[in-house]
């Protein structure tokens, strides 16, 4: 198809030329046309006029582009005009095809405009882009370097993913081009390919290394983009390059690059910045690697002392790097001084970056915040909102139980002036988090949350309301405290509703109605009728949404009691029983029936004190009689909703859409007779399962449900360690409320500082710890997740330099062990094969002495190297994996090197990609002195990816912290041969839908043909089964444990092996291709 179009397009210019050469064809002075267009636009006053003008312009462009008289030169001008219109936001899609045409046929200059228009108009997924592929191919091969440059530029901007293989060899070739600019662009184009289709460029990673060593610094600089990305993904894989990067940085810093890389006499600053970013990724949590870079970091800090913007950019990167890598005390000191220079700078940009750096380091080094406390206070009053926000971010990170009130107050003040949605959402979440974590007392908590709800409005994250309601309903262990909290909430809400409820956001009103419904009875001073009156007011408000009204009606149902409410309730019911909103109608019906029948109400909504755990009959068996009667009377039998959906889909004639809303209510198949019974059943069902509740997806009642849930009123089961600490620290209470008035009394600021930075200085670290051990507020929910909570975070830099006792290593297996004969069918054969090869890792096992502990039934099977996972005091965890025919077993060795036995050791493994099952049942292990305990896990792939990762935790009773480790293994460990006949292969091939095609390099061998040699390598490394070889083609099969087949079709095509993989699992072909490439690379 594209060929045909291509041909027509090539035929066009001759036509055009012949017409154009005729006399009389009007010469259009288009450049003046653009001029007049712009003049006209600037004269316009309204958006509407502009629209009309542009539409006129576009239609004239449309006429001209499609006219055969238009020359390429005119076309170029037209394109520029179209680009202009498109930039203003008007659709000019009719020019797209002409842009491609221009890129294809124009002379160099016209081509450039064509390419430009294409890259501005189209996106990677646009179908017209296919027409560009041939042009790009042609230009890549052109002898004109400018054309090559243009093609590379357009390729790095937009190129269809599927067509990458077509141009990949050409782009690769450009890496060896004599001109540096071409090499540089080729590197970036390949980087782009890596971003959109990493599997396709897997094989050229070596060439990236070559680019890094290129004699031209420009090309080297371009390759840094790639490395930054690759190292971000997998820092472990590139540790060996650390010395290279350090050497490069040394040369750059030392001024060894040519002069034209200097910028304001700073040598190649952008390259320096990138190198520093790379180094910080490499040195993170790795003392060894960090060691290598200490010297150059110091040098960088020292050298970059001139006063230009760009040197500050380098310094900032340097500081970040120093704080990211394994710490070294004197470097940290220098970096801290550097941050000081930033923060104190009069230049606002530097101040901002200084604050950002502080935010970054403040968790490691809270003393630094203390040093700059006065600057931070000043920045809080800074006119620039961005500076203010960053300051709040720092404060957020240093918040603890002692300074929370001051900091939250600052945040709320900022929130009340903020107009930006993004900032509001972000900050509201932070305030809610702090309030939950550190609230000193009930009143403060409720008031803060009120502020959060009022300021957060509708944009707030829904989980804030949910977790608030949950917290409130679960409450405290102590009955008295619990009551106090709830009563306080009720009081504050009643007064809010008595004020101006119109101004409150809907979400807040919903929270209020729920709380009043649940807890208003706890407050004796407020009668039920007052509450109902207040709630009724909400119903009459103009801006109440129907969702809010639903909440209100439900609250009324819970509250209405006594004769005083009856008339009001009655009128509410009348209004809403005829509402168009079915959910509202449902609620109104419930309200009506329950308010009339106190006995029923007492049963459905029992008062809290007598509330027993609800027994929910989810099968609704009490309705059986009713249903059978209805059936006998001729009613249609009940069908589950999905079945009805299917039937609806089959009979497309009538749209049943409107009825779907009521479906969840009618689960008992008799909504047409809304008897009392049906309502109560839907009620009880509603409380049993929230998702059915009223069928309204809009009701997010997660918090509500808790109390009414299966376990009944759940507060009884909540264990709160201690009642909330009243008052907190006395010093907070007489903190002066900081006014933003212009009386800049230093004293006031000092006072603010002392309250804000409370608990941060070194001497108070222990005090902080104490503060934490008396958890003021539901601390148990956050423990372990928030580093701030942990007193250990507040170590000073001296302590950080000490090698931490917990040393975590994450092992990696670049190469899986190999067997000679992958086609073997039984485990015995596999075992034999394993013994045959001297590449088996048994030798290495012997070295560690751990292999002796391998379970007997696994001996002789293929086994990976045993690697150390982590160690904690005297314990060491090692692991390896053993290939069984039907499973992959992971063996974890827990060895104890001390004399004493260690008890209650627990190892937990989990992974998103794998299913882990443990052979032994006991969770706890006891490891005697100088002995080893072996645990065996079976692994199965849940979600294939190139490498799969297990995350494990070692729970050790003697150390307070759990030790985390990761274990990474290639997917190829899970691949087993699949024995098939050619016929079976044929039928399976047709039934699989996910496929991938790719060219692999052939392996050449003296003894065999290239196909056989390549297949041998693949079967050896990856345990594939060769089904049949026919001439230059071969079919190969394998399976991913347990039974997920993948079929492979190989054909020798020139110098490459064209493989085509199919599998029912979408990710499998891509992953397998990757491992095939790796296997062939190794040869």
């Amino acid at each position: 198809m594209s060929d045909v179009v291509e041909k027509t397009l090539t035929a066009l210019p001759s036509l055009l030329l012949s017409v154009d050469s005729q006399p009389g064809s009007a010469k259009l002075s288009t450049s003046s046309k653009l001029g007049s267009l712009i003049r006209n636009i600037t004269e316009l006053t309204s958006k509407h006029e502009e629209e009309k003008l542009i539409q006129r312009e576009l239609s004239s462009i449309k006429d001209q582009v499609s006219s055969p008289n238009t020359t390429m030169r005119q076309m170029k001008e037209l394109m520029v005009r179209a680009i202009y219109c498109e930039m203003l936001g008007y659709d000019s899609s009719f020019t797209y095809i002409h842009a491609i045409k221009l890129a294809q046929q124009g002379s160099v200059l016209e081509k450039r405009v064509g390419y430009l228009a294409v890259s501005l108009f189209l996106n990677e997924h646009h179908e017209l882009l296919l027409l560009l592929v041939n042009t790009v191919l042609k230009d890549l091969q052109s002898t004109n370097l400018i054309e090559v440059c243009m093609a590379l530029t357009v390729v790095s901007q937009i190129f269809p993913k599927d067509m990458i293989p077509a141009i990949l060899p050409l782009v690769e070739e450009k890496l060896n081009h004599p001109k540096e600019i071409i090499r540089r662009k080729a590197v970036l184009a390949l980087y782009k390919f890596h971003l959109i289709a990493p599997n396709q460029v897997q094989h050229i990673h070596n060439k990236f290394r070559k680019a890094l060593c290129d004699k031209d610094p420009g090309v080297m600089g371009a390759s840094l983009h790639i490395y930054l990305h690759l190292i971000q993904e997998n820092p472990e894989g590139y540790k060996d390059l650390t010395t290279s990067f350090v050497t490069i940085l040394k040369q750059v810093v030392g001024g060894k690059l040519p002069m034209d890389f200097n910028y304001h006499s700073v040598p190649a600053p952008w390259i320096q910045i990138q190198l520093l970013q790379i180094l910080s990724l490499l040195g993170k949590n790795d003392p060894g690697t960090s060691e290598i870079m200490h010297e150059i970091l110091e040098e960088s800090l020292r050298r970059a002392e001139m006063n230009h913007n760009i040197t500050y950019a380098i310094l900032y990167e340097c500081v970040k790097c120093i704080y990211t890598i394994h710490p070294k005390s004197d470097l940290l000191e220098k970096a801290a001084k550097c941050i000081g220079n930033f923060v104190l700078s009069s230049k606002i940009n530097l101040k901002y970056l200084g604050l950002k750096a502080l935010t970054y380091v403040v968790q490691q080094d809270p003393k630094l915040a203390l040093q700059h406390q006065m600057t931070i206070i000043e920045c809080l009053e800074h006119p620039d909102l961005i500076i203010k926000r960053e300051t709040l971010e720092i404060l957020f990170r240093i918040t603890n139980a002692q300074n929370v009130t001051v900091i939250v107050e600052k945040m709320l003040t900022f929130l009340s002036t903020s107009e930006d949605d993004h900032t509001t959402i972000d900050l509201v979440g932070k305030v809610a988090e702090l309030a939950k974590k550190y609230a000193p007392d009930n009143e403060w908590f409720i008031q803060t949350m009120n502020a959060v709800f009022s300021l957060g409005g509708e944009t707030m994250q829904p989980d804030i309301t949910n977790s608030f309601l949950k917290l409130l309903s679960e409450g405290f262990d102590s009955v008295e405290e619990d009551r106090k909290l709830k009563v306080f909430a009720v009081n504050s809400y009643v007064s809010l509703l008595e004020g101006e409820p119109e101004k409150l956001p809907q979400r807040f009103l919903q929270v209020i109605s729920w709380v009043l419904g649940e807890f208003s009875h706890l407050q004796q001073d407020v009668g039920a009728e007052t509450v109902v009156c207040l709630l009724d007011k909400l119903l009459h408000m103009k801006n109440s949404t129907s969702e809010t009204k639903t909440w209100v009606l439900m609250a009324m149902t819970k509250v209405c009691e006594g004769a005083a409410c009856a008339p009001l309730v009655q009128s509410v019911c009348e209004t809403y029983s005829s509402s168009l909103d079915t959910v509202l109608r449902q609620r109104a019906q419930e309200l009506q029936h329950l308010s009339r029948d106190p006995a029923l109400r007492a049963r459905v909504l029992p008062p809290v004190c007598t509330r027993e755990p609800l027994e929910v009959d989810s099968s609704l068996s009490f309705l059986d009689e009713f249903v059978s009667e209805a059936l006998a009377a001729g009613a249609a039998p009940y069908k589950p909703s999905h079945q009805r959906q299917e039937e609806l889909a089959q009979t497309k004639a009538v749209s049943y859409e409107p009825y779907q809303l009521t479906l969840p209510i009618s689960t008992t198949a008799h909504t047409h007779t809304p008897s009392l019974l049906s309502i109560s059943s839907s009620l009880s069902e509603g409380s049993a399962d929230l998702s059915h509740k009223g069928g309204s997806s809009s009701l997010k009642l997660e918090g509500v449900k808790r109390v009414w849930g299966r376990g009944g009123y759940e507060a009884a089961q909540v264990e709160t360690p201690s009642p909330p600490q009243e008052g907190g620290d006395p010093s907070i209470s007489h903190t002066p409320p900081l006014t933003s008035e212009d009386t800049e009394s230093k004293q006031q600021e000092q006072q603010l500082a002392s309250s804000m930075f409370l608990g941060l200085d070194h001497s108070s670290v222990t005090l902080m710890g104490k503060g934490d051990s008396t958890p003021s507020w539901l601390k148990r929910k956050e423990r372990g997740q928030t580093p701030l909570n942990d007193a250990q975070t507040f170590t000073d830099p001296q302590e950080l330099t000490d090698p931490s006792p917990l040393h975590v290593v994450s092992p990696q297996f670049p190469q899986s062990p190999v067997i000679a004969n992958g086609t073997s069918d039984t485990e015995a054969a596999l075992a034999l094969a394993c013994l045959d090869t001297n590449r088996s890792s048994t030798n290495q096992l012997e070295d560690r002495g751990l292999s002796l502990y391998l379970p007997a039934e696994l001996s002789g099977l293929i086994c990976s190297e045993i690697s150390v996972l982590c160690s904690s005091e005297s314990l060491e965890l090692s692991a390896c994996h053993v290939h069984k025919l039907r499973s992959l077993e992971m063996i974890v060795f827990i060895s104890n090197s001390s004399d004493n036995a260690v008890q209650q050791i627990q190892v937990q493994l989990h992974s998103e990609q794998l299913e882990v099952s443990c052979a032994s049942e006991s969770q706890m292990e006891e490891v005697k002195g100088h002995s080893v305990v072996v645990r065996q896990y079976s692994l199965r792939v849940r979600k294939p990816s190139v490498h799969v990762e297990l995350i494990g935790t070692l729970f050790h009773p003697e150390t307070p912290q759990n030790v985390q480790f990761t274990y990474r293994l290639p997917l190829s460990s899970f691949i087993r041969p699949l024995t098939l006949s050619t016929e079976e292969y044929g039928t399976m091939w047709l039934s699989f839908s996910n496929d991938t095609k790719q060219n692999l390099t052939l392996v050449h061998s003296e003894n065999e043909g290239p196909l056989r040699a390549t297949l041998n390598v693949l079967t050896e490394d990856l345990h594939l089964h060769v089904v049949e070889i026919i001439g230059m083609e071969a079919i190969v099969a394998c399976r991913l444990l347990q039974d997920q087949p993948c079929l492979m079709h190989c054909r020798v095509h020139g110098d490459a092996l064209a493989v085509w993989l199919r599998s029912p699992v979408p990710e499998l072909p891509d992953c397998l291709i990757y491992h095939c490439q790796r296997a062939l690379q190794g040869h």
Binding site: I38, R184, D260
Partner: protein, 162 residues
């Protein structure tokens, strides 16, 4: 990575927009409007960085801008880019424009959209910084412009000999 480069004037009229990531036509216009809205209300004596426009990608992204006379130059970048580095890149860009157009003004950008794009393409390629040396950029752009005049053009670069 650089996500987008926008130039608009004091009234929010776009003068150049280049997106290195795919957005729909409408989103692009919205991004331009939102960015203008954010940038234009900032004073002259505040910092040149902004965070978290909703559309361009939330908290991971930042806007780095400079204001020259009638024009705003805005780079939308992700968190991996250095703020001050980009700020100087804008400076390089503007200086280059100034050299190419000899005292660049808003009108130059309007009438030579294609030229400005070409200069930009020599600096930033597919969202990655390609070249930061002004002379080198001008050299490349000139080399292409000369094509107009002579077909037998010899490719030149100052860095040829390295």
């Amino acid at each position: 990575m650089i996500r987008a480069i926008l130039i608009f004037n004091n009234h929010g009229k776009p003068r150049l927009s280049k997106f290195y990531e795919h957005y729909t036509e409408d989103t692009e216009q919205q991004i331009i409007r939102e960015t203008f809205h954010l940038v234009s209300k900032r004073d002259e004596n505040v910092c040149n960085f902004l965070e978290g426009g909703m559309l361009i990608g939330g908290s991971d992204y930042k806007l780095i801008y400079r204001h020259y006379a009638t024009l705003y130059f805005v780079f939308c970048v992700d968190s991996s880019e250095s703020e001050l580095g980009i700020l100087d890149l804008i400076q390089v860009f503007v200086e280059t424009l100034d050299k190419c157009f000899e005292n660049v003004c808003e009108l130059d950008l309007i009438f030579h959209v294609d030229k400005v794009h070409n200069i930009l393409a020599e600096m930033v390629m597919g969202g990655m910084v390609l070249e930061t040396n002004m002379n080198e950029i001008i050299m490349q752009v000139d080399a292409q412009n000369k094509m107009e005049k002579s077909e037998t053009f010899i490719f030149q670069s100052t860095r040829q000999d390295r």
